[in-house]
């Protein structure tokens, strides 16, 4: 079975919610929408306090290229535009909308189209206007991926159905229930970048998803192949998936487009299909509410902006002594300090861990066992990088390519000394970026 080298095999813990069909969550009375929900630039609000907005209306946008607009998930009145705690810790205000009892009306940014009548340029525009970002967790604006730089050609669209993070099953359920939309969305993306081939990679622990997507893929004559890949973490990292499916290696500091590929998540593809064929903006997404600390784990179709607390309540509340609330999975997720933070476009799961799972052990010294080196899917040397980060040797960290770290957490997972390696690398990455910026300024002065 196809795969990449190194990586780890954590317990996948997906049995809690893998068989639960997607259920629509109750519409919230109040939504909180941070003005930055994507990598890149924050948005500027297009509404003011007191304005009436209808579902699907664009309420925030940015003139910057690497950004995606935000749409109102519910109809109601804008009551506040001020700072609220958010999961990504962006220090930016949020738009708060409170539902009014008026009849819900839905605004569509565009009309219904069929794929054949759209030009690639139009598809990119529709996807941008729909506020589409990568729904796998990084939230990179999709239209930016689709704008292939001059001089590069993309021949393959890779659709990422790996969902290698333990606990999360939202993509799994999307593949089982919306397979047709995924294939249609992938075809739209392929048309937008001018690619002939579509390859869907699905991990071998999701056989039902593979069958469903393969069935839909076979309906399209030619061009679409659905491939099973090995269940291994981080199989869903785009560089790993390109290596596994196409046997191409993304160069250091490069992008998938350097090797002729564009990678998108299955949920993003399904959302792209909705945007293109129905003109619907991205205002809801599937979120897995799971973990040992939740009574009834579920896959919920949630309006963006719903506070975590409401979803936890709809899943029967908590059990045991919950000590950790994580947005995303246990490997790459972000710990959040309060359940009042809202669901954003990047929220693939809400994970509740109890004191039984969370054990904090003190950081020990590096014993030079080399397990981190053997597990790093990128092929870095985390042992040296950690040493450089600890001592503040940013040039050393740069020379050992800390910038290429994808923060997957494999090294920290296997470290017998429990060194919080990824946190050190995040520190080093920011410091290296600042250092290089300062050097550039000194040269350009």
């Amino acid at each position: 079975m196809k795969s990449f080298s190194r990586g780890i095999h954590p317990q996948d813990s997906k049995e809690r919610s893998a068989a639960k069909p997607i259920k629509e969550a109750l519409s919230p009375r109040k939504v909180i929408l941070p003005l930055q929900q994507n990598l890149g630039c924050p948005c500027e609000p297009l509404v003011k306090v007191g304005d009436e907005v209808s579902e699907g209306e664009k309420i925030a946008d940015s003139a910057a290229f690497v950004s995606a607009p935000i749409h109102a998930p519910i109809s109601g009145r804008v009551t506040e535009i001020k700072y609220y705690p958010n999961a990504c810790d962006y220090d930016i205000p949020s738009i708060v909308i409170e539902a009014t009892d008026a009849v819900d009306k839905v605004t569509r940014p565009g009309s219904r189209w069929t794929l054949e009548e759209l030009a690639p340029e139009q598809i990119r525009k529709i996807i941008r206007e729909a506020g589409l970002v990568g729904l796998g967790g990084a939230a990179f604006p999709t239209h930016v991926k689709l704008a292939v730089p001059k001089g590069k050609t993309v021949d393959t669209v890779v659709v990422n159905g790996c969902e290698c993070e333990p606990f999360i099953t939202s993509d799994h359920r999307v593949m089982v229930e919306k397979a047709a939309a995924i294939i249609l969305g992938a075809r739209a993306l392929a048309k937008a970048v001018g690619a002939e081939k579509i390859v869907v990679g699905i991990e071998s622990n999701k056989l039902d998803a593979y069958k469903a997507v393969n069935f839909e893929g076979l309906k399209v004559r030619g061009g679409v192949s659905v491939v099973q890949v090995k269940t291994k973490y981080p199989q869903g990292g785009e560089k790993m998936l390109i290596k596994a499916l196409l046997d191409r290696e993304v160069p250091s500091g490069g992008l998938p487009s350097d090797v002729g590929a564009v990678v998108c998540n299955v949920a993003t593809a399904a959302a792209a299909a909705e945007a293109v064929t129905h003109g619907l903006p991205l205002t809801k997404r599937v979120v897995t509410v799971t973990g040992p600390g939740i009574k009834e784990p579920q896959n919920l179709l949630v309006k963006i902006g719903t506070p975590f607390a409401e979803l936890i309540e709809q899943c029967g509340g908590t059990v045991g002594n919950v000590v950790k609330l994580i947005m995303g999975g246990p490997m790459m997720g972000i710990a959040v300090p309060t359940a009042q933070v809202p669901v954003v476009k990047a929220t693939s799961a809400i994970l509740l861990l109890t004191d039984q799972e969370v054990k904090v052990e003190p950081e020990g010294n590096c014993i030079r066992c080399g397990r981190c080196v053997r597990s790093c899917p990128i092929g870095l040397t985390p042992n040296f990088l950690a040493e450089y980060a600890k001592t503040g040797n940013w040039q050393g960290a740069y020379d050992y390519n800390v910038i290429d770290c994808i923060e997957c957490g494999c090294c920290g997972f296997v470290c017998p000394s429990r060194i919080p390696l990824v946190q050190y690398f995040k520190l080093a990455k920011n410091a290296v970026r600042e250092l290089k910026l300062a050097e550039k300024k000194a040269v350009c002065r």
């Binding site: 810790d89 220090d91 710990a335 300090p337 309060t338 904090v360 950081e363 919080p420 946190q423 050190y424 995040k426 520190l427 920011n430 410091a431």
Partner: protein, 262 residues
């Protein structure tokens, strides 16, 4: 016996020849050095901290001798060294010379800080600052892991109750702690001014009251008491250190949260 004599003579002769060559070379390739540079370099503290802006103490001495840097440029040496350099250069130390030290603009000790979450990551301020401020409710104040304490080359900072305390006798205002603090709550101020705002929070007063007992609430009482010195900008009092000769003390007593300290 002969072999000893022969080797001593040969080696001795070689020694004389090389000594003569080296002597001639030293004379021929001699670099003219301003004697003032050597004299200034000898009295500098030799910490090579870089706080003067020069690349080390010797470079500082060279640039002072050339007149590129003022004689009071060495922040570590202070007035004493400035006077000595002045006597070498034949220049008087300016009368408005003030010793500067690092001041911490936060007064909340560990027990004063309200926490939203438990932080279990890397025990460094820089790391905690990246990870939602180590779970602290205040987004501006001291994190208490002592990055400034670790970086101080003069051992002038001690951590007391999770808050850095600057020893004015040891502090040389080299500015390393200013650069090390990820929250930018340390700054270099004139030591004899007699007032420091021990808060950096730009949150509105009502919010500060909820999360910190010693935070600046932006009430403007200090501004009314001594308007020449204090000004409230963005809910935070700031001191105009150029207002020398004005007594800032009346506001210290009036501050309701006692966030102005000496």
């Amino acid at each position: 016996m002969m072999i000893f004599l022969a080797s001593i003579m040969v080696l001795g002769l070689l020694g004389f020849v090389f000594a003569a060559l080296l002597g001639m070379a030293a004379d021929h390739f001699r670099v003219e050095v301003d004697p003032k540079v050597e004299a200034i370099a000898a009295i500098l503290p030799g910490a090579n901290c870089g706080a003067c802006g020069a690349a080390g103490c010797y470079n500082f001495a060279e640039r002072v001798a050339l007149g590129e840097i003022v004689i009071s440029g060495c922040v570590v040496g202070g007035k004493e060294v400035a006077e000595k350099i002045g006597s070498i250069m034949g220049v008087e130390v300016p009368s408005d010379y003030h010793k500067k030290i690092a001041a911490v603009h936060c007064g909340a000790t560990t027990k004063d800080r309200k926490k939203l979450a438990r932080y279990e990551g890397v025990a460094k301020c820089s790391a905690a600052h990246q990870l939602r401020g180590g779970g602290l409710a205040c987004g501006f104040g001291c994190l208490g892991f002592g990055d400034c304490f670790c970086v101080c080359p003069f051992d002038a900072i001690s951590m007391e109750g999770g808050l850095p305390k600057v020893d004015p006798d040891k502090c040389t205002s080299c500015g390393k702690c200013v650069a090390a603090c990820p929250r930018r709550i340390i700054s270099i101020v004139p030591h004899d001014f007699g007032a420091v705002i021990a808060c950096s929070s730009k949150d509105p007063g009502a919010m500060v009251r909820k999360i910190c007992p010693v935070g600046c609430i932006g009430c403007k009482i200090c501004e009314k008491a001594v308007p020449e010195v204090y000004k409230v900008v963005d809910n935070l009092a700031v001191i105009d250190y150029s207002a020398q000769g004005v007594d800032p003390a009346p506001a210290i007593a009036k501050c309701p949260t006692k966030c102005i300290v000496k």
